[in-house]
């Protein structure tokens, strides 16, 4: 069955939410620059966040849980690039107009309808990533679509939101999370698609297409962490799983595929449990203290835990024998999912289960005693955990909850992506998001004249730019595609508009030559735009041969303060004039006059090598060839006479 057929059969539905950092001069709600920093912060402060009572009801359970743990948050700040707004010590400033313009530009690209009046909202988030306890966000436009291949993917909304503070570390001893304020407030544009995506590869193509459009605005940040995606995946009979903060675009199809697989496998496990006639009610065992069984255990982990005064608890999962060890994703079993719950709700290091025991130093005899202690039959699985008593109970109660959900199928969750495209449990899916108006910020009216200005100044999309590069500049399709996606695009366009350079030579230099120099260990990061500009000025004036480019760039990279003339002098690669070429060519031909007479015009091939070696880089190969051919011709003609 084709991929498409297979995924259609399981009813795969995927929706994407792309979050892209904007490269604006200020943050979304204050006038700080949008700079991420790695140097030492100037100071920090400690805060706590409390879940506020909502008149609409529910407090986010995970948030409440964190609060009850008396979690503290430490925020690091910089005096010169963060201010009191990020510290939640000053009300927000008005929405950044530049960001709104970028969102309106995207709306025009995607055929979305801009709202007439933009209202900032507060979305409650109390994991500490926002000093305020909420994230400010606003819808800018709704509707629209993007064509991916032949498939139309609907756009739900285009929003602006403030990026969260950057998590730096966990200080478990102080029960504190450390964040840095540099990222907090950087404008993010969020583009949410409808769940129209039906295959993993379509998901990746959609993300790429939207990403390219975003870059077309010329106002987005580049580099690691500047684009993040939330991926919503469900299959028929499964549940909507929200995978948050995925950054490896090239792995997106793998991520979707593995989540579809996970849901299929969980449904198989559900079916197996049904066949065994297991109902959620049966899974009601209380965690039991089984420390005694392990008093003389030779398992290192168990010994260490007991020595630290911890307890060993076990719980029976009726009918789960053989299922806990079943793989749901590569290297991840149902047991791993149970373990995720134990870690999150019980704050323990992990669990053991009978599908993997005896093992880890736990003996067959201990397993038998363990089964007896919790009255587990051969169809049952037992999960054990070693930790302080309270944590053991919390952890195993969470395991029981998760096991109960296995009978229903796939629990709706928010999950965290792992590097290989699999995911782990992050937290329960929050209910309807608690949002209320950000009354500290005035709404922004979008006037018809503003929309007119946006339409008039619409940047060329990278897609049409690519086509234009092929048509007008004669770049190959591949090179054009590479060029429009490159960080050097702006430089390429500037140099093309400033001088008469062969476009392919320029593109190849920027995209390929530099990369291969990098591979050879040349410190290309020291090359500046101006180096390239000077170099190509010389190329234009035929002072430098294209063959000399790598050597000149290498010199400039090693001596970034020296100018192009220094480089030419140092490398002796300044182009020589025609007379000198003629002299060299004549010398070569005269030295090998017998060879030339013997070979006739075929001598050209052999002598070309010699000439190139003498003149390498200082003259264009084509020019050398012309002169050489002329000289050979001259010699042959004179011989015949």
């Amino acid at each position: 069955m084709s991929d498409e057929g297979r995924f259609r059969k399981i009813g795969l539905m995927v929706g994407l939410e792309l979050h892209q950092q904007l490269n604006t001069s200020r943050k979304l709600f204050c006038h700080c620059p949008t700079v991420i920093r790695d140097d030492k912060p100037d100071g920090g402060f400690v805060r706590r966040l409390r879940p506020t009572q909502s008149e609409m009801g529910a407090v986010d359970p995970a948030a409440l849980f964190e609060f009850q743990r008396k979690k503290k948050f430490y925020y690091e700040y910089y005096n010169d690039t963060t201010c009191l707004v990020e510290a939640d010590e000053e009300p927000p400033h008005n929405l950044c107009e530049e960001s709104i313009d970028v969102a309106l530009t995207m709306a025009t690209f995607l055929g979305s309808s801009p709202l007439d009046e933009i209202h900032a909202m507060r979305k409650i988030v109390i994991d500490g990533s926002n000093t305020t306890g909420f994230q400010r966000t606003a819808i800018i436009a709704m509707g629209g679509k993007i064509l991916v291949g032949t498939k139309e993917i609907g756009i739900l909304a285009i929003s602006l939101e403030e990026d969260a503070a950057r998590k730096i570390a966990d200080d478990d001893k102080e029960n504190m999370k450390m964040y840095r304020l540099d990222r907090l407030g950087i404008p993010l544009i969020e583009i949410a698609t409808a769940p129209d995506i039906e295959t993993p590869s379509q998901a990746q193509e959609t993300a790429l297409a939207i990403g390219l459009l975003l870059r077309s605005t010329g106002k987005v940040k580049r580099g690691l962490g500047t684009i993040r995606q939330d991926v919503n995946v469900s299959i028929k009979g499964g549940a909507i799983i929200e995978i948050k903060g995925f950054q490896q675009l090239d792995m997106l199809s793998t991520l979707v595929e593995l989540e579809a697989l996970r849901q299929e496998r969980l449904l198989e496990i559900r079916d197996a449990l049904h066949e065994r006639n297991i109902s959620p009610k049966q899974i009601s065992s209380e965690p039991t203290d089984i420390s005694d069984i392990f008093a003389g255990s030779s398992s290192k982990m168990i010994k260490k835990a007991l020595k630290a005064g911890h307890a060993i608890y076990g719980v029976r999962l009726p009918g789960f024998a053989g299922l806990v060890g079943r793989e749901v994703q590569p290297e991840r079993r149902l047991g791993t999912e149970l373990s995720d719950y134990a870690k999150f709700w019980g704050d323990v290091g992990g669990i053991f289960h009978t599908d993997e025991l005896p093992g880890y130093g736990i003996s067959a005899q201990e397993v038998a005693q363990l089964r007896e202690a919790v009255s587990a039959g051969s169809q049952d699985a037992v999960v054990i955990v070693a930790a302080p008593m309270g944590k053991c109970v919390d952890a195993l109660e969470a395991v029981v909850r998760r096991a109960r959900e296995a009978i229903e199928g796939v629990p709706a969750e928010t999950r965290t992506p792992l590097p290989n495209g699999t995911t782990k449990y992050a937290r329960p899916r929050p209910g309807a998001e608690r949002m209320y108006p950000e009354t500290d910020v005035r709404p922004v009216k979008i006037t018809p004249s503003r929309l007119k200005r946006i339409r008039k100044n619409l940047p060329e999309t990278l897609d049409s730019k690519e086509k234009r590069f092929v048509k007008d500049y004669g770049l190959s399709k591949d090179l054009a595609s590479q060029m429009v996606r490159s960080l050097n695009l702006l430089l390429f366009e500037q140099i093309m508009s400033e001088m008469e350079v062969p476009a392919t030579l320029l593109a190849v230099t920027l995209e390929n030559t530099v990369v291969s120099l990098h591979r050879d260990g040349v410190p290309i990061e020291r090359l500046e735009d101006n180096h390239f500009r000077q170099l190509f000025e010389c190329v234009t004036k035929t002072e430098v041969s294209p063959d000399a480019i790598p050597a000149i760039l290498t010199h400039l990279a090693n001596n970034p303060t020296s100018g192009i003339q220094d480089a030419l002098d140092a490398t002796d690669l300044g182009k020589i004039d025609t007379t000198e070429i003629e002299n060299v060519v004549r010398e070569i031909v005269e030295d090998r006059i017998d060879f030339v007479r013997e070979q006739g015009e075929r001598a050209l091939g052999g002598l070309m090598g010699v000439a190139m070696k003498r003149l390498r880089g200082r003259a264009d190969g084509k020019v050398i060839k012309k002169h050489l051919a002329a000289e050979i011709q001259r010699v042959l003609t004179s011989t015949e006479e």
Partner: protein
């Protein structure tokens, strides 16, 4: 909420009325070929407007739609009144906990957000307080009472009288302490007023506020309220104080003397600073540390002396380059009885208003001098114009805050038999509002220096 106070005007109001839509109803808007469905929101809080209607989409986002003559609105579902879940009221009094009265006057320390409309409503009852700060019941048995519900910039001298009387009646119930929730703008001024109005207190009375409203997860309200409650329940002190965040961190609070505290920042949590004086106590999770001795110690048998009247014919005049004598004249002509001049530097005013000041004093108006510098003591002996004003009868207020001096003059004019007595009392310390020594550490405008 009716449409009339929903913030809509003009065309939008007409169309909404015609459709019979009320705030909270689900409505559809057909506008330029698009249909929008959402819950009708009020817009008073985001600015009145005749053109844009605000609805909440299913996603929770609010959006504004600009209407024109052709737009159509239909009300499709009326909003349900949401019933608040009936919660078990106030838990039983715990005998090992102190009893604390919490009086509410307004402000954001106790407020709840309506997530539908975004309206922030004051939480006023004891139950509301327990709802917003559930831990409170572990710190004290609370008696809660609403005295008034006003933004603090609207508080009038007559309100101080009302608050003072309410405090007095709480103290008569033999509570261990009183907490007054108050908006922060004029919190330091009310605290100074109460310090004069309520003397010889048997138990501590503190004012508390919040710089971030309590509907926000990051609010300072809960910590300030809990620290204040703990403090009045246990501290061995009996005077009017202000308890607020000590630094930007959610770590400790200071208790400041009511007459010596000033809001020194528009928005920071640690905006309240003791000026020309040390905070009296530092309060954190582990306990209360005394930094400077209080005026009186706790003594439940002490008899409260209440003098709650104020004469509001007193105001502050800031001197400035270009100030005209007629500013002074107009106050005198309007029957003002006292002027507090916030002068420059050591206590100076431009010489071209000196004759106007003389005229005021001759007319029986008390003129007192403080400094715009905020920190430091006035001294009018250093330069000749200062000496001339002293000779005229301008009263130097030592290191008293301008706002405190104003309140004090209002109080003196209402509670002394003669102008001479008021005049004399102005530069004397009554409730710790003046000190004759200023210590090195008492100048800190940088919170980091704390």
């Amino acid at each position: 909420m009716t449409l009339d106070d929903s913030g809509y005007r003009g065309l939008v109001l007409e169309k909404l009325s015609a459709a019979g839509a009320k705030v909270g109803d689900t409505i559809t808007i057909d506008h330029q070929g698009r249909e929008y469905v959402g819950i009708l929101m009020p817009r008073a809080q985001v600015g009145r407007d005749p053109d844009h209607v605000v609805i909440k989409l299913v996603s929770g986002y609010n959006v504004g739609i600009r209407l024109n003559e052709l737009s159509e609105i239909h009300s499709i579902k009326s909003g349900r009144k949401r019933k608040r879940p009936a919660e078990k009221t106030t838990s039983k009094a715990q005998s090992d906990l102190p009893t604390v009265s919490i009086l509410s006057t307004g402000g954001t320390i106790a407020s709840k957000v309506d997530y539908q409309t975004g309206a922030v409503n004051p939480a006023l009852s004891a139950q509301d307080l327990y709802d917003t700060v559930p831990e409170l019941k572990d710190h004290a048995n609370i008696h809660a009472r609403i005295v008034m519900s006003v933004f603090s910039e609207n508080i009038q001298p007559a309100d101080w009288t009302k608050i003072a009387r309410s405090v007095s009646s709480e103290i008569k119930k033999s509570v261990d302490g009183v907490v007054i929730a108050h908006g922060t703008d004029t919190l330091g001024i009310t605290s100074a007023a109460l310090a004069f109005a309520l003397q010889d207190l048997p138990v501590p009375v503190v004012l508390v506020g919040s710089q971030r409203s309590s509907d926000r997860p990051s609010s300072d309200a809960a910590m300030n309220l809990i620290r204040a409650t703990d403090f009045v329940g246990h501290a061995n002190a009996a005077e009017i104080m202000v308890v607020m965040h000590g630094q930007t961190d959610d770590t400790f609070a200071y208790a400041h003397r009511g007459t010596r505290v000033r809001k020194c920042h528009t928005s920071r949590r640690d905006a309240f600073q003791s000026v020309n004086y040390s905070p009296l106590f530092k309060i954190d999770e582990t306990g209360i540390a005394e930094l400077s001795a209080p005026l009186l110690r706790r003594n439940p048998d002490r008899k409260l002396k209440m003098k709650p009247k104020f004469d509001d014919r007193v105001t502050i005049v800031n001197t400035s380059p270009g100030i005209k004598p007629d500013v002074i004249d107009s106050y005198v002509d309007s029957g003002y009885r006292g002027l507090v001049l916030a002068g420059t530097g050591l206590g100076h005013a431009p010489e071209h208003i000196h004759s106007a000041l003389k005229r005021a004093i001759d007319a029986g108006v008390i003129v007192a001098m403080t400094s715009q510098c905020i920190w430091g003591r006035v001294n009018m002996n250093v330069y000749r114009p200062g000496v001339e004003m002293l000779e005229m009868g301008v009263i130097p207020c030592e290191n008293m805050l301008t706002e405190t001096a104003t309140v004090k003059l209002m109080w003196l004019l209402a509670n002394t038999k003669t102008v001479e007595k008021a005049h004399a009392a102005m530069s004397e310390c009554i409730v710790g509002e003046i000190s004759m020594r200023t210590e090195q550490s008492e100048y800190r405008i940088q919170s980091e220096a704390c």
